[in-house]
């Protein structure tokens, strides 16, 4: 058996073996990539879940302030605060002056004093109703501010969650590159086998038109045995 024929057989065997190994390696690499990426995704889901819980807690804390009993207390507190301020303002004024002379009839003095006293009572009533109305505004403002702060907290969590999620694509790309199948010995063997086989076939006169190079493309440069460009006779 000619040496070249033996070489061709050996090359063919090597190529077959190389092909088998290569497929297994590729499969392992793809498995590793998938496993890593899934783990990364699972880790990210865990982080996102933690962010979600943090956001839910923040939302609950905010909404908790809107429970009917707390709203009622909030309104009571606001009313008391405003009423105190308004009354304090009224009390600081001198309302004691009654412009009746000492010689005036006592019944008149009593009546005038009563009128002024009634007026003060009415003023206190006005202050109380004004305080109640104002307290509603105080509470509405307090509620709006509490909601705003709750929104700030949610925005902060959403920002961190978004930032974390934005890193996943890069991590997965790296995982794909890290475990991507690299041509190893098996591929070398396969390539070498393919090359040797081609060479052997060419040497045996199997060249000519339709000769392919390693890449499987028709090669105008492949030479046959003693051949001429494009195939021997």
């Amino acid at each position: 058996m000619p040496v070249l024929a033996i070489a061709a057989i050996v090359a063919a065997l090597a190529a077959a073996a190389g092909g088998g190994l290569s497929a297994a390696q590729k499969q392992r690499a793809e498995g590793k990539i998938a496993e890593t990426q899934q783990q990364q995704a699972a880790d990210e889901i865990k982080r996102q879940d933690a962010y979600k819980q943090e956001a839910q807690k923040s939302l609950s804390d905010t909404l908790n302030q809107f429970q009917p009993d707390k709203q009622e207390k909030s309104l009571d507190d606001a009313t008391t605060k405003r009423t105190d301020y308004l009354n304090q303002n009224l009390d600081s004024q001198d309302n004691s002056y009654v412009p009746t002379s000492a010689s005036g009839p006592s019944v008149v003095k009593t009546e005038v004093a009563k009128k002024l006293s009634d007026a003060l009572g009415a003023s206190r009533g006005y202050a109380a109703s004004t305080a109640r109305l104002g307290a509603r505004n105080d509470m509405a403002l307090g509620d709006a501010m509490a909601l705003g702060e709750g929104q700030d907290n949610l925005n902060a969590v959403a920002d961190r969650a978004g930032g974390s999620l934005s890193l996943l694509a890069g991590k997965q790309k790296y995982a794909a590159a890290r475990y991507a199948h690299q041509p190893g010995f098996a591929e070398l063997l396969q390539m070498a086998g393919g090359a040797a086989s081609s060479a052997a076939m060419s040497a045996q006169g199997g060249g000519g038109e339709g000769q392919v190079n390693y890449y499987g493309n028709p090669s105008p440069y492949a030479r046959g045995n003693g051949g001429t460009l494009g195939g021997g006779v």
Binding site: Q93, V108, L116, L188
Partner: protein, 205 residues
């Protein structure tokens, strides 16, 4: 790239570098957001309960004396008018003084109430500005910029209040009293004033 493309660590290294760069950028952004928020909070720390109390006090301090001066003048005029009409020591006069007193007290209440509302308005402006800065900070993640923007916002918020002149509600009170007296003088009874009025010592229920 090595022989026949084997052992190609170039792509792997590039992907690793890119992933690391992204992580570092995100860590830097987060640190920037945190520092930016701290800068905003620091700029706004002056807006505390004491600050809002000061707003209330300033408002009240501006309007209350005006109101008291108007009230005092009007009261004196009212008393003089009553003395001139001879109804000062009458229940009608007392009734009038009582209504005047109530009007003055209500005015005091309104001024004090508006003083509290002025503080609320400022609170609202502070909260709204702070929120806008927080939101900008997420985008910029630049503590220096956040600090500058916060300082600008604080400067714009913390300006002296614009006080409108107080309307003199008491002059209209005196005018209406004078009109009532005029009406009484012209024969329309029931006001308790002037020559058509009953005796000043009569107690009007």
């Amino acid at each position: 790239m090595s022989f026949l493309g084997m052992g190609d660590n170039g792509g792997k290294k590039a992907a690793k570098k890119a992933a690391k760069a992204q992580e570092e950028a995100e860590a830097k952004r987060l640190a920037g957001v945190t520092a930016g928020k701290a800068a905003i909070d620091s700029a706004f720390k002056g807006f505390d309960d004491g600050y809002y109390q000061k707003i209330t006090d300033e408002y009240n301090g501006h309007y209350a004396p005006q109101m008291e001066a108007d009230s005092s003048r009007a009261r004196k005029r009212l008393i003089l008018q009553q003395a001139g009409r001879g109804v000062l020591e009458s229940s009608a006069g007392g009734d009038e003084l009582g209504r005047f007193q109530q009007a003055a007290d209500n005015q005091r209440t309104d001024v004090a109430n508006q003083a509290l509302d002025a503080a609320n308005q400022r609170k609202q402006a502070v909260a709204s500005n702070k929120r806008a800065l927080y939101n900008d900070n997420y985008q910029a993640a630049d503590p220096a910029q956040a600090g500058r923007s916060a300082a600008d916002a604080v400067g714009a918020i913390d300006v002296a209040q614009n006080y409108n002149p107080l309307i003199d509600v008491f002059s209209s009170f005196i005018n209406s009293t004078a009109q009532a007296q005029q009406a009484q003088n012209q024969g329309y009874g029931g006001f308790g004033y002037g020559r058509n009025s009953r005796k000043s010592s009569r107690v009007v229920s």
